[in-house]
Symmetry: C2
Subunit: 327 residues, 2 copies
Amino acid sequence: MIRIGILGYGNLGRGVECAVKQNEDMNLTAVFTRREPSSVQILTKDAPVYSISELLNHQNDIDVLIICGGSATDLPVQTPEYVKYFNVIDSFDTHAKIPEHFANVDKAARESGKTAIISAGWDPGMFSLSRVYADAILPSGKTYTFWGRGVSQGHSDAVRRIEGVADARQYTIPVPSSLEMVRNGETPNLSTREKHTRECFVAAKPGADLKRIEKEIKEMPNYFADYDTTVHFVSQEELNQNHSKISHGGFVICSGRTGWQEENQHVIEYSLKLDSNPEFTASVLAACARAAYRLNQEGSTGCKTLLDIPPAYLSRKSGGELRESML
Amino acid sequence: MIRIGILGYGNLGRGVECAVKQNEDMNLTAVFTRREPSSVQILTKDAPVYSISELLNHQNDIDVLIICGGSATDLPVQTPEYVKYFNVIDSFDTHAKIPEHFANVDKAARESGKTAIISAGWDPGMFSLSRVYADAILPSGKTYTFWGRGVSQGHSDAVRRIEGVADARQYTIPVPSSLEMVRNGETPNLSTREKHTRECFVAAKPGADLKRIEKEIKEMPNYFADYDTTVHFVSQEELNQNHSKISHGGFVICSGRTGWQEENQHVIEYSLKLDSNPEFTASVLAACARAAYRLNQEGSTGCKTLLDIPPAYLSRKSGGELRESML
C-alpha cells in the first residue's frame, strides 16, 4: 500500500481523497490543513485531519505527499520546501513559470534524495503528453490546443469583481468552425478571437446597471477584450441549479504530413470531456503519486514531469499484465 | 546524428526511409534486403542497399537497426537475432504473442547489452499508450477501441483468395451509433457485430459468378461471418483510382467516473486519421529509434515497449525545451 498525505483541502484536495479511495493500492494517511483542523470535515471515516504545523512529524507515515495548493502563491513555496522531507506531487499550472519552479524543486529534491512530479493534471499534464507525442511522431506537424466547453475559474472571478455582480460563471468555448478546420487537417493561423469564445452567466445585484456590467465584461483587457463574449443575466437560483458543476475539457489536435514529398496527411486528436475539472486533475495526481513512489524506490530522485515518466509507472498493473492485456 | 539502418524494404521500410528524412537528427546508413540489392531502388540518393548477409559487417556504422519485416514469420526470428549486435526497433503486432516475443528479445538484449523497443506503431503503440494512461487515471473506467475507417490488409488478402476475384480492398468501419454511445459516456457491452462493419470493393474476373463471390465473402468464418458486410463490385480501374491509399485510423475511448459516490463522469478520447498506415507506423518507429539510442547510451538495456519509454525520450527537443514550449 502506498501511504498518501494530502496537503490542502479545497476542491482539489477533496478530489485526491476520492481518487485514493478508487485506487486499491493506496491509503490515505492524513489530511493537513492551514485551517483549524477541527473545522475541516473530510469524507474518509478513518483518516485524521492535522494542522500543517504537524506535517514534519509524519515523515515515517507518508510515502507521497500530494500538495493541493494554488499555483500563484502556495506551490512555489510549498513544493520546494516539502520535497526536503517527502516525495511530492503538485499541479503547478502557470505555464510560463514552470522552468523556474522545476529548477527550484529539482535542486531541493536532489539534495534530499526525494522524488517530485510537478505540473501534473490535464493541462499541463495529459495535454502536454499529447502535444509531445504528436510532435515526436510527426516532425512536420502543427499542433493546436482548444479548451472547453468548460468553466474558467479565473474568468468567473474576474466577472464577480465587477460592481453590481452577485455571482457569475464563465465558460470558455472553442470556435466550432476553427475546430473543424483543424480536425480536417488544415493548418490555419488562428487569432485568439478565432480559437475561443467566452460565455458568461451573471447574477446581478438588485438594481444593478446591467448594460454597464455587460460593457465592463466585454471590454475587460486580457480576460475578455480579445474574444467574442456573450453575457446572459440569470437568477442566483439558475446559476446554482444549472451552472454548479466545474466541468471542463478540450482538444489537442495535430496534423502533419509524411512521405517522400510529404504527400500523405495524418490527424492525431486527443480530447477530454470532464464533469469535474478538479476531480480529474486529482485522479492524474494520484496516478503520479504511484509513479513517484516507484521511481524513488528505484533511486530515481529529483524533479520530474509527466514527460519524464514511463507510462507503465502510472499504472497499478505490472509490466507483464500491461503487455498481456493492454498493449 | 543517429545512424539508422533499415532491414527490409517494403511499404514499412520505405516509410522509415521517409521518416528519417524528416528527422534532422537522423541519418540513413543503409538499407538491407533479402532481395538482390541491385534490384532494389530506394529514394535516398546517397545511401547504399546491401544484402542482408552483409548486415553484421556494419555494426560500427549503425546506432539503431529498424526491422521492417512481418509479424508472422520475420520478426520472431529477426528481432531476437539482431539485438545480439544492434539496438533494434520492430512493429511486432500479433497481440497474443507479444509476451513471448518480449521475453525472447529481452533475454538476448540483456546478454548483448543492447536496447530493443518492440511492438511500436499505432496499435500496438499509440493506442496502447492511450489505453494505459486512461486506465491509470480512471480506475473505474471502461475503455473501447474502434478501428477504421481503414484498409485491412489481411481481410483484403482473404477476399483476393476467393475464386473469380481479380483484386479487392476491404475497409473496416466502426458502427457510428456504437461509437456515439461510447463517446457520450455510456458503457455498453458490444458484440463484434455491434462494433464494426466491413465493406469490400471487389474487381471480379470476366465471367465470374458475382452472387457466389458475395456469398463466400459474407460467410467466411473469422474474417466476415461475425460482421455485417457490404460488397461492391467495381472495375480494376476504379479500385486503382479510388482505393489505392493504405489509409487507416481509429478511436480509443475511455469513460470513467470520479467522486466519493462516483457522481462525475469523464470521457477521454484518442483518435487517429491516417492517409498512410505504413508511413505513420514508420514515423513512430523512427521516434522510438531516438529513444532506444538514448536509453542505450544511459546503460538502460533489454527489451522495452512504448509503455516503458519516458515520452521526452521520443522527442528531438531537450527536456528544458519541452518544459518551456510544450508542457
